[in-house]
Amino acid sequence: MAKKPEGIKDSYDLVVIGAGPGGYVAAIRAAQLGLSVACIDAETDEGGLGGVCLNWGCIPTKALLESAGLARHVKEDAASFGVDITSYSLNFGAAVQRSRKVSERLTKGIKFLFDKNGVTAILGRAKLAGEKKVEVELKSGGKTTIKATNIIIATGSRPKTFPGFEFDGDRVISSREALELKRLPGSIMVAGAGSIGMEFADMFAAFDSKVTIVEALPQILPLEDEEVAGVVGRSFKKRGIAVKAKTKVKSLEKLKTKLKVTIEAPGGDELVECDMLLMAVGRTPNVEDLGLEAAGVKLDENGWIQIDEYNRTSADGIYAIGDVAGPPMLAHKGSHEGAVAAEHITGASTHPVDRNNIPSCTYCHPEVASVGRSEKQAKEDGFDVTVGKFPFSANGRALAAGAPDGLVKIVADAKYGEVLGVHMVGHNVTELIAEVTLGRALETTVEELAGTVHAHPTLAEAVMEAGLATLGRPIHI
């Protein structure tokens, strides 16, 4: 065999393909457990060390949304808070630049963590080459083949679109391009009101773009509680965002300076002119050119890699984690699966991934967070359900922050108080969801949520009060 490029060994206990939030966590966890690990990343436009999450997803969007939040405070709140800002201007370019710096800092952090844990980072495109071998087309040139006792596939996903709405990298864009725009669109249509669509709609609106967001399903944030989605919808409309549910993008005409989008709304077709169209209608797994079929790795009927509760694929010694192994496509799901897969490979004590306790967060204003069953699902699952709600308008900390829009809603089992699901909307609720997620993992009942001292004044008191409300005895409402 040809000599390996420097720093790459002939064989590893574990080769992880993809260095996103699933892959890098799996690699580090396996290295902690004593395995020799290589983590290969193709470092394309879509990724690099840290994957979509750190480069073109979670982190840069949050950075931009912080800029948006500050802009909103300046525009809406500053004067009433006693800060008169006589003159300000919004600099979208600076916001984008800042978001890139945040990304960069974190992706460098991955390299540091790999070095610290002895994980070999390899840049190049990897492919399964049969019998526990991985072939890598190195970014630095040439090919090499690495033996791997175990393999974890963590190649992630990429934005998808509809026929007739192909990405052109300029005016018909995905979230990827939206994070690196050179200019702010005067008007933009966002197709798809899931987490990604809602966050971008909020961000562009804060920078004074004229925003229209359309959603084919009857409700924006279709996976969230109806009441929660209602709070967000009203807030968006108040800020001048056109929100259209039960509406589909139908056709697109590209004029020289404008786009003409025909949308199919309940009241009939409408024509909307805009500068840009952001397609946020879902993501598709990166399963191509990986040699999956030859390696015996099967896909499920929806095209995701088929896995079991420890993320084992149909091929012996090959695991798949994160987006490529199916929804929910969330970084923290991928990371958790990565850790479980690494532990399972080494025989360390682990537990199957509990797919019913994965929290979901949307960082638009107001924020949305949820975990577990909706009221409807809980009833369908045969529970005798009791629901406790507490509005932020009755929470001191929320009022002090000028953020009365929001609520915490707990869906509990009436008999034993099991916390079946929690749905939140409002200021900083993405930080509040951790309490109830831990609670659910420990099988905490509403009695403990309600009976635990919560510091005052905090937003978390709303969780305690919602717990009390399920027991029919909230104090502050």
């Binding site: 457990l33 004593g34 395995l35 080494t346 025989g347 360390a348 004590s349 537990h351 008999k415 034993y416 108080g417 099991e418 420990l442 099988e443 905490t444 009942t445 009695e447 403990e448």
Partner: protein
């Protein structure tokens, strides 16, 4: 990644185990799930599987040695992996060793403690498998939700095997206990607790329990003997077996006794019970154990939920259990937790005897030989097949009249056995 093979607690009562045979030798490749060693517990022979793959690098306990549960038996690791720290840790944990290579307890030698100076393969104390930890030290690890459901449904947490992290009892474990099915635990199973209804102790009952223990020992026994006319039961058995000829199934007297006991217990549920210190467990299902002599002792395979089962099914299942009992292949859940037990020494020509109760049950029925003897019936002497049985009762749970009423029903059913085949 090195994995340890440890003497796990394979049954609720197991404190030590003996290595029967190493199936794999040092240097053998081992796949996760391979049987590595056969271990004899207090009740059965069990196969211990590797939890990880690699090479069987080191065997620490020789064949025939008996070691306490928790002892590290062997290390599986990659061929070139450094396992010196595990071995050092193991040696350091040994206060002393005895000469024949089988360390027994962790009691330090009074005179010359020789830490880490072992020349023979030695057994060491390693951490208990996590699953077992829940019953140690009196604290039961259980989730708040599991506690609430358990309290509501009367399931004692102590009887439930936890399958959560670190052996914590979680909702699914309680639900499994309620439905009578034990959730698959991470490692070895212990016996399931039959479902029951909790009956709180009255002050009188507590006083009775206290007094009887003081006078008679941990389980205060009393005995009830009766003689049963077996003529019709034997006729029925002969007739059933004629009709089953060629089917491979044969109904024995024990199967008829098991069925009769289940039916009689259904009429006297207060006898299908156990005394549990602060309450009485009234089992809501009849699980009958049958004492079976094996080469070096006695084991009672348990036939679960006898109530709805017919004689034919009882016969088939019991024969399978007995066969495996004799081969010492019973799993703990197959011999633990009978709600009623039958011990039959009739085949040895014993006319009558008393049996010792096997906790947690409150009763055991000792069955003597069926013999032809003269009996006075309606003023004249007849030759009849008669069988003497003695019911041992735990007086804390079962009083004399309760036991007597049950035994009377048992006798009447056997003397009029057609009900059994309905």
């Amino acid at each position: 990644m090195a994995t340890r093979i440890v003497m796990s607690k394979l049954s609720p009562t197991m404190e030590e185990g003996r290595i029967i045979q190493w199936v794999k030798k040092e240097g053998d490749p081992v796949e996760s799930g391979d049987v590595v060693v056969e271990v004899e517990t207090d009740k059965a022979t069990m196969e211990v599987e590797a939890m990880g793959s690699g090479v069987l690098r080191k065997i620490l306990v020789e064949e025939n040695a008996t070691v306490p549960t928790g002892t590290l038996l062997a290390v599986v690791a990659a061929a070139d992996e450094d396992i010196s720290s595990i071995l050092a840790e193991a040696e350091a944990a040994v206060p002393s060793t005895d000469g024949d290579g089988a360390a027994t307890t962790a009691e330090p030698a009074a005179t010359e403690p020789e830490p880490a100076a072992a020349t023979q393969p030695v057994a060491v104390s390693a951490p208990e498998p996590v699953v077992e930890s829940q019953h140690d030290g009196g604290r039961v690890k259980a989730s708040p939700l599991a506690r609430r459901i358990a309290q509501d449904s009367g399931v004692p947490l102590q009887s439930v095997q936890g399958t959560g992290t670190g052996g914590r009892i979680i909702k699914r474990d309680i639900e499994a206990a309620i439905s009578g099915v034990v959730a698959a635990p991470v490692t070895a199973a212990v016996g399931p607790e039959p479902p029951y209804q909790r009956v709180e102790l009255t002050q009188l009952r507590k006083a009775i329990a206290r007094n009887l223990v003081q006078s008679l020992g941990p389980v205060p026994h009393f005995f009830l003997t009766t003689e049963i006319d077996m003529g019709r039961a034997l006729d029925l058995r002969a007739e059933l077996n004629r009709s089953l000829e060629g089917s491979g199934v044969k109904i024995g007297v024990n199967e008829i006794l098991i069925k009769t006991a289940a039916q009689a217990l259904a009429e006297h549920p207060n006898v299908n019970a156990a005394f549990a210190e602060d309450h009485i467990r009234r089992f809501t299902r009849v699980d009958v154990g049958l004492a079976v002599a094996v080469s070096d002792g006695l084991i009672t395979p348990v036939l679960r939920n006898v109530g709805p089962k017919g004689l034919r099914q009882i016969s088939t299942e019991m024969r399978g259990l007995i066969e495996r009992a004799r081969e010492r292949k019973l799993a703990p859940e197959e011999y633990y937790g009978a709600t009623f037990t039958i011990s039959n020494l009739g085949m040895y020509g014993i006319d009558e005897f008393t049996a010792v109760i096997n906790p947690p049950a409150a009763t055991i029925l000792a069955v003597g030989a069926t013999v032809e003897k003269p009996v006075v019936i309606d003023g004249s002497i007849e030759i009849r097949s008669r069988m003497r049985v003695t019911l041992s009762c735990d007086h804390r749970a079962v009083d004399g009249a309760m036991g007597a009423e049950f035994l009377a029903t048992f006798r009447e059913m056997l003397e009029n056995p057609l009900r059994l085949v309905l």
